[in-house]
């Protein structure tokens, strides 16, 4: 926690208090396979951090550690100074980490609005009795949740289909609906797992704009992405994983010219450009 911040870093060294999330020598094993080995990095409040790496590098595992789906074999994950390893998954969401999924996992039969309201419900306290007797808190939460959900749908530009079942929405809408649902939980850290998967170039540009707008609203974003243009275009800092280890960390410019990264991931540089 108390590491000095007077290094020669230059680009926005932030005091540790403003670190939203810290991974400390995290190791994850599945049977004999080591999916992550001694991975450490941190996310500062208000930044967009990119997490990249070739297939099987451990990006999604990393994500699953953050959101409590897996527990690390050793090492610590601290979120605003709290250790995540003892928290249940829904408690982690309540504490302020929200995510989207690589392969869309909306609630298909619910409407777009209801999907987002499920996210907003994360902080609600109405339970069975409140709902049965329409107690004041129920009315209040129902109203504010609905208003918040509408606001978020509009924010992401999908408010026109708020009352459609999620499964009937076009693909691009579904991807954005996932982001809206995650934002509804009021996260301090928003984790996007390959949000551009399956998008055409025009849609990717639009998505980049959406992510920037989310950051401007004050959210901190962790972005896993395959698409180099998107990562390079939108992030301020990038962490590169390969075979479960962190092999590089730095600005997009530095990453682009890092020989280890080129070797492990970018392969032919023309592809990236």
């Amino acid at each position: 926690m108390a590491e000095p911040v007077n290094g020669p870093v230059g680009n926005g060294a932030v005091p540790p208090a403003d670190r939203v999330l810290e991974l400390d020598d995290v190791t994850v094993r599945f049977g004999g396979v080591t999916a992550l080995e001694d991975v450490s990095f941190h996310i500062d409040r208000g930044e967009i951090l990119g997490l990249i790496g070739p297939n099987g590098a451990g990006k999604t595992t990393c994500f699953n550690i953050l959101t409590g789906v897996y527990k690390p074999a050793s090492g610590h994950v601290r979120f605003e100074g709290r250790d995540l390893s003892r928290m249940k998954r829904y408690q982690i969401t309540k504490a302020g980490i929200a995510r989207t999924f690589q392969n869309i996992r909306l609630f298909p039969e619910m409407t777009a609005l209801e999907n987002v309201m499920v996210g907003a419900d994360a902080h609600h306290r109405t339970s069975v009795l409140g709902a049965m007797f329409h107690l004041p808190r129920y009315r209040e939460e129902e109203q504010s949740g609905r208003a918040r959900a509408r606001e978020l749908l509009d924010f992401l530009g999908i408010g026109d289909r708020a009352n459609d079942a999620a499964r009937n929405l076009p693909y691009g809408y579904q991807r954005r609906l996932e982001i809206a649902r995650a934002l509804a939980t009021n996260p301090k850290l928003l984790c996007l797992d390959e949000p551009a998967a399956g998008f055409n170039p025009a849609e990717k540009v639009e998505l980049m704009e959406v992510i920037r707008r989310i950051q401007r609203e004050g959210y901190t974003v962790l972005l896993i992405e395959h698409d180099m243009d998107l990562v390079m275009g939108v992030t301020e800092r990038i962490v590169v994983l390969d075979f479960g280890r962190k092999i590089a960390e730095g600005t997009p410019r530095a990453i682009r010219s890092d020989p280890r990264v080129i070797e492990a991931y970018l392969g032919v540089p023309e592809d990236a450009a």
């Binding site: 789906v69 829904y90 929200a98 869309i104 419900d121 109405t126 709902a131 076009p170 693909y171 995650a182």
Partner: protein, 383 residues
Amino acid sequence: MSGVRGAFGGLRQADDARIRGLASVGVRWRALPRPARIAICVAAVAALYLLPLWGSPPLINTPGTDFVDVLATRIAIFVLAAIGLNVVVGQAGLLDLGFVAFYAIGAYTVAVLSAEHGSVPFALAVPVAIAVAMSAGILLGTPTLRLRGDYLAIVTLGFGEIIRIVAVNTDWLGGPRGISNIPKPPNVGPLEFKLLDAKPYYWLALTAIIVVVVFVRRLERSRVGRAWTAIREDEDAAELMGVPTFKFKLWAFAIGAGVGALSGSLYAGRVGFINPGNFPFTLSVLFLAAVVLGGAGNLAGVILGGVVIAYLPERFRGFEDKRFLVFGIALVVMMIFRPQGLIPNRRVAAEMHHAEDNLELANVPGGDLHEPVEGSDDRHDRG
């Protein structure tokens, strides 16, 4: 895997065809002004209350048995149980194959308190029965709701049998001879609960159904109902979106158990005599059939399902020994023509605004670059 996908694709298509048929009814209903809708509801409820005064209505009467008695002793009881089971199966998506256990707990609690080991009045024994069943639901659910799908079904199936076998083998519960002389519900004003006149029992059960429907409907349209639907559709995603899934599954189980017990205790009050033979496994299956046939997850659907399941065997009494054969054939035929239930679940809100757009979208293959997504199919791949 491709076979599985194909099957799901087929269901989707059937689904979409059905939405089209239903959209018109739903849209028309919603297009009515609110006072008109309320008036229709009030009229329907009034008609239901007046139904037994008709005596033996043509066409829908039951040959060989008293129609009002069928209404009070079978149909109302089945509808109530189906509403309870629907909370568990239709709303939260937890397959319960032993629902008769809670029904039996309700009936036995009333019988024990008011006849076998005490003289608690019926009106007091019923809430106790509900509380006991809810506790039993929580007790059973706490260890087992961590299981999913098939495993939960097997555990609940076992629980249903355990309750029945315990009743057979426990002298304190009357053993195989059961418990008799269960008191009738208390008289309310001019309403007297006597053995032969089934009307008051029907009115009592109908009132219970209406109260339960109001509560269940309110739950459905709240955070609780959203949590249940989210759990049913993708439990992991629900948990990651901040839904305390275990807590809400337990609630679904407890509420279902409570409604089941209410149904069981009304049954005990009506017939005045119960024994373990009244609570066979097949009753669990019939309750489940009512939910699935009616349209799991849709309240109006499961009510209709309960009516059909309870009514058909009585209607076919004329066929004597073969009446269950006819009943079975009727069920099979209905499931062929309505695989998702008589009144399928949800989509109501979706139909409101965009019914037409959606249908066009769904019906033009490749007509839109962004086909309605395969995302949910991918989930099946993940196992």
